[in-house]
């Protein structure tokens, strides 16, 4: 009982802290950069990280198994991964553009996980026989980390596409939010915030120059994070195959989830190949990565929604009432 109360508290703290962080991001966007505010948003992210870590550990202790056995837990783990990526990237470079992707992503997954949609799954269930393996931790954590990193990378590519697209149809002015409706707010926020950063850093009146710089930055960050995510995904899929050979009788059985994970892997392999050729770099590779965004969601969520195949542990029905 004490554990579930603690879990409840931690969930709410982390959710509200992320909300505050996002608000701060918006404030800095409106009132240009305020150093103090930026610092507090950094602290907020760390607080979120601590909360979600606490949440996962609590769940681990009272359920007695690694907290990655159903969709709710994997969503929490996903938002944890986002905060890890956020912190890792801020170690790499003090102030960076990635935080504008990771923080809203964390709030969305956190919000979705704790929303009423999945209330049924909040109760930690007992572990079915097939999941009782030491491979669970390795396979699922690697997969979710991989998804998180690849999602970040493909979102950056989407942002790159949006900027290039704007260039093509000649919509200027960073406050022209014509495209607001068609794109989710994190991307818009990201663009605006980055615009601020670059305006301040280079203080150049030329739109084209800073846009060029921005697309280069986006390209670089998405390449960095996708390469990282690709490693996680590879390890995740292969450890899953080894596990399947221990428990299902075959290392590959063309189960829908498996197949979609392989499709995701193929798409990002294509992305990495497009990067080796100068002709494909930039927009073309960004299109591939953006396709990857869609495919990850089909793989992570769509297959669970259908609840087909051997990976039915995470399945759920939307009509929870």
């Amino acid at each position: 009982m004490i554990f579930s109360t603690l879990e409840h508290i931690l969930t709410h703290i982390s959710f509200s802290v992320v909300s505050v962080v996002i608000t701060i991001h918006f404030l800095t966007l409106l009132a240009n950069e305020v150093v103090g505010l930026y610092d507090s948003s950094e602290k907020g992210t760390i607080a979120t990280f601590v909360c979600i870590t606490g949440l996962l550990i609590t769940r681990w202790i009272y359920s007695g198994h690694f907290p990655l056995s159903d969709l709710y837990e994997s969503l929490i783990f996903l938002s944890w991964s986002f905060s890890v990526i956020h912190m890792a990237s801020s170690f790499k470079k003090h102030k960076n553009d990635l935080s504008a992707i990771t923080a809203p992503s964390a709030i969305f997954t956190q919000g979705f996980a704790t929303s009423g949609l999945l209330t049924k799954m909040h109760q930690s269930a007992t572990l079915v026989p097939a999941l009782q393996s030491r491979w669970l931790m390795m396979h699922v954590s690697m997969m979710v980390l991989g998804y998180a990193a690849l999602l970040c990378g493909s979102l950056l590519s989407v942002a790159l596409l949006v900027i290039t697209f704007r260039k093509v149809i000649k919509i200027f002015g960073k406050k022209t939010n014509l495209l607001n409706e068609s794109f989710s707010c994190d991307k818009i926020q990201y663009m605006n915030e980055s615009s601020n950063v670059f305006l301040k850093t280079y203080s150049l009146s030329s739109h084209d120059y800073y846009r060029h710089q921005l697309t280069q930055q986006l390209d670089r960050w998405s390449y960095w994070i996708i390469r990282l995510g690709f490693i996680f995904l590879t390890i995740g899929i292969l450890s899953g195959a080894v596990w399947a050979n221990e428990s299902w009788g075959s290392y590959w059985s063309w189960d829908p989830k498996e197949t979609w994970a392989f499709i995701t892997w193929t798409i990002f392999a294509i992305y990495l190949h497009t990067r080796t050729n100068k002709n494909f770099e930039g927009v073309n590779s960004a299109i591939v990565a953006s396709t990857g965004f869609l495919i990850i969601w089909i793989c992570y969520f769509g297959v669970n929604l259908l609840g087909i195949g051997l990976h039915s542990y995470g399945s759920f029905t939307l009509t929870s009432n």
């Binding site: 428990s247 063309w254 197949t259 979609w260 190949h273």
Partner: protein
Amino acid sequence: MATLLNPTKTQTLFVSLPKTHFLDSSYSSSSSLYSTFSLQIKSPFRRKTVSFNLTCKLKTSKGPKNNGKDISKKIILSDSGPPEIRNEEIQGEVSKSGGGVLVVVKRLPRRALAVLSNLSLAIGEMFTIAGLMAVGTIIDQGETPEFYFQKYPEDSPVLGFFTWKWVLTLGLDHMYSSPIFLGMLVLLAASLMACTYTTQIPIVKVAKRWNFIQSTDAIRKQEFSDTLPKASVRDLGILLMGAGYEVFLKGPSLYAFKGLAGRFAPIGVHLAMLLIMAGGTLSAAGSFRGSVTVPQGLNFVTGDVLGPSGFLSIPTEAFNTEVHVNRFYMDYYDSGEVSQFHTDLSLLDLQGKEVMRKTISVNDPLRYGGITMYQTDWSFSALQILKDDEGPFNLAMAPLKLNGDKKLFGTFLPVGDTNSPNVKGISMLARDLQSIVIYDQEGKFAGVRRPNSKLPIEIDGTKIEIVDAIGSTGLELKTDPGVPIVYAGFGALMLTTCVSYLSHAQVWALQNGTEVIVGGKINRGKDDFLEEMNQLLDQVPEIVESSLSRQPDSASG
């Protein structure tokens, strides 16, 4: 590493040497210098004579300053010392030299190789494979033709054109073994091989040959270049070492690299993919598979269960092994849910001698002589009861069809006159081996009993005691000769994917009087490299000749 920067070998800093002197010095350098170099080169990177062809091409196509004599000298030197290449441009050589690397490849039509190694084609193949796999998950696999007639009828085609004819003609009902899909995989494998031979190996051959650049113009042509007006190439070398570079210094020239493994790794990734594909093919062609449901206490012979999957499936000695199910039981959580299934198996050879005994469970299979036995399923075989203290009788349990995947088994015990046309009796239902729900002759709930509880239940004057619940274990058997190969491929793929993260960075520098010209390039992650180089160059100390002191040059990018 510090021994490299042998002070006796360093040229005096402020002496500007004529160009011709550099050319000569590479051949007249003392042996002690070369021995230092050979210590520095790690053995996998040491040049072998294989690349003879390549070197020739490099020379003849590029170096107008070289004559034939020079080439032969260089090739001899290449095993012990650094070859001299003034102009190094990888991309140009790659396409020319690719065919000459392996004799086998030479016999193949060059045109086919060039087409196959085309990046656009490979990307197209990957997209097609991804698309086919996606289609495979959308269309239900392995159903009867009637199913497809119904689902994709001709009079109302999906998307206006898609009917069952498409499904059955293209083999989309068994996508992952259909000729289209397998053909695409074969094509991809061919592309992988072609790309590795014609593009990747030549790139590595050029890249791994560490070399000095002697002309300032060539250095300035690199992706990154800068000039330090008052600096020493030695100081730069020390800084580069600190940054994790392998540094080679000869006279006024410096060559440094790091992350060379990042160049090799993509080849490894491709080879690992091929290995996995080969293993997968062997698995498909040479394995046996089968599943069996055996009640506790009974036997079966492995060879009877296993059926071959392909033309390479050859039975082994182990197929004569007889398996005896000693016991099948389940573990339960406090909530009553099943936590684990266990089967205690004994393997008996032809003489009936026990050769192995193991209790298997889900995630813990038994392996013997190439055969793997998995715990995959279970069933309720029989219920052992005492009726009015007579017996025990074994009642066979029948699986009842239910919606959902929960299992339900039932049996029926006739009571009274068994010869009358409408027999009445007691029904017993069970979801697992733990508790039996008993209904009386009218179908009303009578009670729940556990096996072995020794607690009889009285129904309409009949006393029934449930003695035991006998389960049967569902086993899956297989032999798969492809697994070791596939696992080797998995290991290699994991390792090489991780190593691919490294970027191969190369730095050249040349002391030209008091100034040092620095150039560098990297195969991926260019911006980070530029940043690193700029930071590094900022730290290079300025040589103070007189009291006149200038600010160290910051990078101009």
